[in-house]
């Protein structure tokens, strides 16, 4: 069997149809879209078409609300820095403890500059408390930034409802929707979301292209100033080939959105049921009833994630983990810690994330090897004895550094 890619929340394969539409922009229509000659005369049209394709996927009112950027991180930084620059008197930001580092690191940095950051906690299923959120909204808040769906667990936050609450309180609302766009249907024009970030490479477009959706009328200050590109809202020569590619990828994502929520979801569910049915002492993390259709994050107790990944990799299966070791940090994933998952499980979380390129046969292959991998590592674990955990594992083996 060929290698199995179940790490689509990290990044995706570029759809061959996307590559096809990009190639002419490298070889023929490579002119600068600002130029007046035949090497460029199709580019502006290509960009316009791509803008409309993105518009259709996220359901915004105007195509001019789409600003092309270099990636999701740039979109996130632009959104937050714009909000605080445009409202210099507001010194608070509301976000959550489980955001992507693209938001959390920026907030940590702004905190040093004197901003008050409200990081909303989540419960054990990764859900927010909306009453607590309402109490945080005030005239002091420059922006709320809450992810649409969590990259590790796939848990979906009620961003439309939260945006409406923010809007009623006169507060700007941004959502990092990098994981959600293309996986769940959305119609931004029916919401009060002011800004939204998306990233091309999460939906079968290339890396290095992103979008900031900016609702018409939202007060805005560019991050990059210079030329007139993107109507002066994001200077820098357009990455025309990638923009056209992203447009095509969005068109395809819209076509496949039902497939994503039926067939892809069925693969995810089969894998999840198979694993939790066959392997003792493992559990699915996040909000099981309100998740992306493609994501399953499973904690395997008493073993460590990087070891699991290395054995999976040997079996030709690609996934990712929330363990400390895979990132080189000293703590397991902040998302697992925020959900109060015990260390003995948090380090053993494996995220399987599907795409429309996966098949049921691949699911069966993973189900074939997974029980053996877990059993082998548990044989090495000080928390495991025979075919069960030792009695009271966290007390039986608890070395600590003095």
């Amino acid at each position: 069997m060929t290698d199995i890619y179940l790490d689509n929340n990290a990044t995706t394969k570029v759809d061959p149809a996307v590559v096809d539409v990009m190639i002419p922009y490298f070889l023929e229509q490579y002119g600068n879209p600002s130029s007046i000659h035949k090497f460029a005369d199709g580019v502006a049209r290509g960009l316009k078409h791509a803008r409309q394709q993105v518009q259709a996927l996220i359901g915004c009112e105007h195509d001019s609300e789409i600003i092309f950027t270099s990636c999701g991180t740039e979109s996130n930084s632009t959104a937050i820095l714009s909000a605080i620059k445009a409202q210099p008197n507001k010194k608070e930001i509301i976000t959550t403890t489980v955001e992507h580092p693209a938001i959390l690191s920026l907030c940590d940095y702004l905190e040093k500059d004197g901003y008050t950051i409200h990081r909303m906690p989540v419960d054990k299923a990764g859900r927010l408390n909306l009453n607590a959120y309402k109490n945080l909204l005030s005239d002091e808040v420059a922006i709320v930034s809450v992810m649409w769906a969590n990259n590790e667990t796939g848990t979906i936050f009620p961003v439309a409802e939260m945006a409406a609450l923010a809007n009623a309180a006169g507060v700007m609302f941004h959502t990092d929707a990098v994981q959600a766009v293309g996986k769940i249907p959305m119609m931004l024009q029916d919401t009060k979301i002011d800004m939204l970030s998306l990233s091309g490479h999460k939906l079968h477009a290339p890396k290095g292209i992103g979008v900031l959706y900016l609702r018409r009328g939202t007060r805005y200050r560019p991050l990059l100033r210079g030329g007139h590109q993107e109507r002066g809202r994001r200077a820098g020569t357009e990455n025309s080939a990638s923009i056209v590619g992203l447009g095509k990828a969005c068109e395809l994502a819209l076509e496949y959105i039902e497939y994503e929520n039926t067939k892809v979801k069925a693969m995810r569910d089969r894998l999840e049921r198979g694993i939790t049915g066959q392997i003792p002492h493992c559990f699915v993390t996040g909000d099981l009833y309100n998740r992306l259709p493609n994501t399953s994050d499973i904690a395997f107790e008493y073993i460590e994630g990087e070891s699991i990944l290395m054995l999976l990799n040997k079996a030709g299966i690609a996934a990712s983990s929330g363990s400390a070791c895979t990132s080189g940090s000293l703590e397991p994933s902040h998302v697992m810690r925020a959900m109060d998952i015990p260390y003995t499980a948090a380090h053993g979380t494996i995220r399987f994330s599907f795409s429309r390129y996966n098949t049921m046969a691949e699911v069966d292959e993973v189900l074939k090897v997974m029980p053996g991998i877990v059993a082998n590592l548990r044989k090495l674990s000080p928390y495991w004895d025979g075919d069960a955990p030792v009695a009271d594992p966290e007390k039986a083996f608890a070395p600590t550094y003095a």
């Binding site: 460590e304 990087e306 040997k314 260390y343 380090h347 090495l380």
Partner: protein, 302 residues
């Protein structure tokens, strides 16, 4: 993914001496479950000779933690306890043909488990001097705790001070923002203000004494020694390196075999240079011998 050596993979995929030793008479438990690495080492020690007859490990941890545990048990089997006490974490890392800097703590954990087990056998209490913070300088594997302590102990004020005292930040320099953050934090706690242009703190005299300049002959001999010690690793990859000339602080090295023209040659040269600087305590530049002719030509022209 980490760039693990084949040896690490070998020990991870086929660990030796996994599981607890039956009738063990020494046990060492170290690690921290919050960090995701913890190890129990069990030994069977011959009471008369103090020779380690059997060693077994149980490890909760990543690939390199399991590999370090496995190789540790192989190293110490057959050693006396006194011999085993001399095993360093570097020995463990060397046996594994190196570990990424972020993973060196796995070898430290192995050595600590061994010391704890021996203390347990001898009825002593083992005390670790383990302190570990977030890794700041990836070039020299220096963590936040170490930097913070040095800043406190030596009243350091600038990034350059920190580099002089700990080496942190002396490589690629991308951690300077993090070092500044530590300086700001400590200085604020001391009621001082961080000033990037503050005067340098003088290094202690003994460091200065060590830094007495080498004579050219001493330098060449020393460079040769270091290079000699690195050759086995290069030869294992089918390559080799030979010292051609030393001019001032520049060493001209001829890369041969698989090293010659290898994409990794630049990295290998950087590695040799780093090692030389560590051992000699002065700036050494390593340049491929091929570059020497250019230099000579330029000199001839000018």
């Amino acid at each position: 993914m980490w760039d693990y050596s084949d040896k690490v993979k070998e020990h991870f995929f086929n660990p030796k001496n996994a599981g607890a030793v039956v009738d063990a008479n020494a046990t060492g438990e170290v690690g921290s479950i919050s960090c995701g690495d913890a190890l129990r080492l069990t030994l069977k020690v011959d009471d008369d000779s103090e020779v380690i007859l059997e060693a077994g490990f149980q490890t909760f941890g990543c690939g390199s933690a399991i590999a370090s545990s496995s190789v540790l048990t192989e190293i110490i089997k057959g050693m006396t306890l006194d011999e085993a006490l001399k095993v360093t974490n570097q020995d463990i890392a060397d046996q594994l043909e190196g570990l990424p800097p972020e993973k060196m703590h796995c070898s430290v954990m192995g050595r600590e488990a061994l010391q704890a087990a021996i203390a347990n056998y001898r009825g002593e209490e083992w005390k670790d001097d383990h302190e570990e913070g977030a890794l700041i300088c990836k070039c020299f594997a220096i963590d936040a705790v170490m930097i913070e302590e040095m800043v406190w102990a030596n009243k350091l004020r600038t990034v350059e001070d920190v580099t002089n005292f700990t080496k942190a930040g002396g490589g690629c320099a991308s951690c300077h923002e993090d070092i500044e953050a530590i300086l700001e934090k400590v200085l604020t706690e001391k009621g001082e203000k961080f000033d990037p242009n503050a005067a340098l703190v003088e290094q202690p005299a003994k460091v200065a004494a060590v830094k007495a300049p080498l004579t050219n002959l001493q330098r060449i001999k020393k460079i040769e020694q270091v290079l000699e010690s690195l050759r086995p690793a290069l030869m294992a990859d089918g390559g080799d390196a030979e010292l051609v000339e030393v001019i001032g602080n520049t060493a001209y090295v001829n890369m041969t075999g698989a090293c010659n023209g290898c994409q990794m040659a630049a990295m290998t040269i950087a590695g040799i240079q780093q090692r030389l600087m560590e051992v000699m305590g002065e700036f050494i530049k390593v340049v491929p011998a091929a570059e020497m002719s250019k230099l000579v030509n330029i000199e001839a022209i000018s």
